[in-house]
Symmetry: C2
Subunit: 245 residues, 2 copies
């Protein structure tokens, strides 16, 4: 038995998220189908993070157990020939048995992209949210400062998750405006709550359009009340950028 770690990218536009579902097309289903062809075994993959419907990944990591003797470095080419164009396996390596894509991760880095051009950039329409209101970059930056550190982030969690604690440590929250009018948010934490990044983005955008003050973000955070935070930003702007081990 071997434990194999895969690095993969996907354009999530046409998928109902990573996790296998009964009546919808998911990344997991296609990846496991490709692995079944390549290994001739029934394989179950475990991802570092379950991405939601329409969310993308540049650096998703999964692991799976197999008895197949195929050298690890052969997996990307073999799997890619069985996968559609919008899912690409970019690396594979054999890892020790105690490696677990989610539990072994030290942190996850997501990127969220806003397209703040007057008209949407047609080449980014699948990968960015084009808000209809005018945003101020400086307010985005100021508002984000209140969400760095270890806090109970319950206000930024969608209902429907059963995790015990909503305390998380956000290590980094940085806006990159250098590709204006595309504004990229990089946000890294030891773990994220359900829809946490998208609710954070929705809340920062409320500040950037002047509906709340930047310092209100601290009040929202401390309230632990989801109703005070902003709306959930669209999935298309979100990308699982990197998983760090």
């Amino acid at each position: 038995m071997r434990n194999i770690k895969l690095l993969l990218s996907y354009d999530g536009t046409n998928y109902h998220g990573f996790q296998r579902q009964e009546n919808a097309c998911t990344i997991q289903e296609l990846l496991e189908g490709a692995l079944a062809k390549v290994t001739r075994e029934r394989v179950r993959v475990k991802p570092a993070g379950r991405t939601d419907t329409g969310v993308h990944a540049r650096g998703q990591v999964v692991n799976f157990y197999t008895t197949s003797p195929i050298p690890a470095e052969r997996f990307p080419q073999a799997l890619n020939s069985c996968l559609p164009e919008d899912i690409v396996v970019r690396g594979a390596e054999e890892v020790s048995f105690d490696f677990h894509a989610r539990r072994s991760a030290k942190s996850k880095l997501y990127r969220y992209t806003l397209d703040c051009g007057e008209y949407p950039d047609v080449f980014w329409r699948r990968f960015a949210w084009h808000p209809i209101y005018k945003l101020q970059a400086e307010l985005l930056r100021q508002a984000g400062q209140y969400l760095v550190g270890t806090y109970d982030y319950a206000a930024f969690r969608a209902s429907g998750s059963a995790v015990k604690t909503s305390v998380r440590c956000i290590k980094r929250l940085e806006w990159d405006f250098s590709q204006d009018p595309l504004w990229h948010l990089y946000i890294e934490a030891d773990g994220f709550l359900y829809k946490m990044v998208r609710i954070i983005v929705g809340t920062l955008v409320e500040a950037a359009r002047g509906r709340i003050r930047p310092e209100d973000v601290a009040i929202i955070r401390d309230s632990k009340n989801r109703d005070l935070a902003g709306p959930t930003a669209p999935a298309r702007g979100l990308c699982l950028w990197e998983v760090k081990y």
Copy 2:
């Protein structure tokens, strides 16, 4: 009567090129459909360049005549609300009657993108060609030098065009490797022959993979023989970047 100039972008993946056709979906058909709704007139647009099936545009320019009193600056918003997401009108202005999108153009600038990563970049798969062979950047640059200047470019023209002369002036042919592994070619000329950019890219790639020497490109150019040039590179990598007036 007024003459209106529009600036538009489109993702050409799902279209059979710009020009209206009987049994296929084209940019022209959708744009004229949107203009009919907005102006309540039957409008014919003339483009700066007819892009082929699968070719994109960042800066396509068209003009059309109308008696509609709608202020020019209102056209983008009005048209975009009648167009699918993959076609975006980015600007409009009223121009003098003698302005003609194609004939008035001083030069056209195209961009062609190669994805030279080990595996295809899933976010660029619609907008870049991922060749299966290993390419040397320095050979691409050397080979391209022979295609700057005024020459008879008949060797780089696909059959099926009826233009009188195949003499064109290429003003600029530059590779930008700064976004490696995405390699962008910027090529500007007073005009292009049918499929000229894609045949040039196909020929430069032959040099970059070592099948011909860079200096052979001059021999191919002087032969005026299409059979000596390389294959036509895929449409997906090509984008009409800017039309200069």
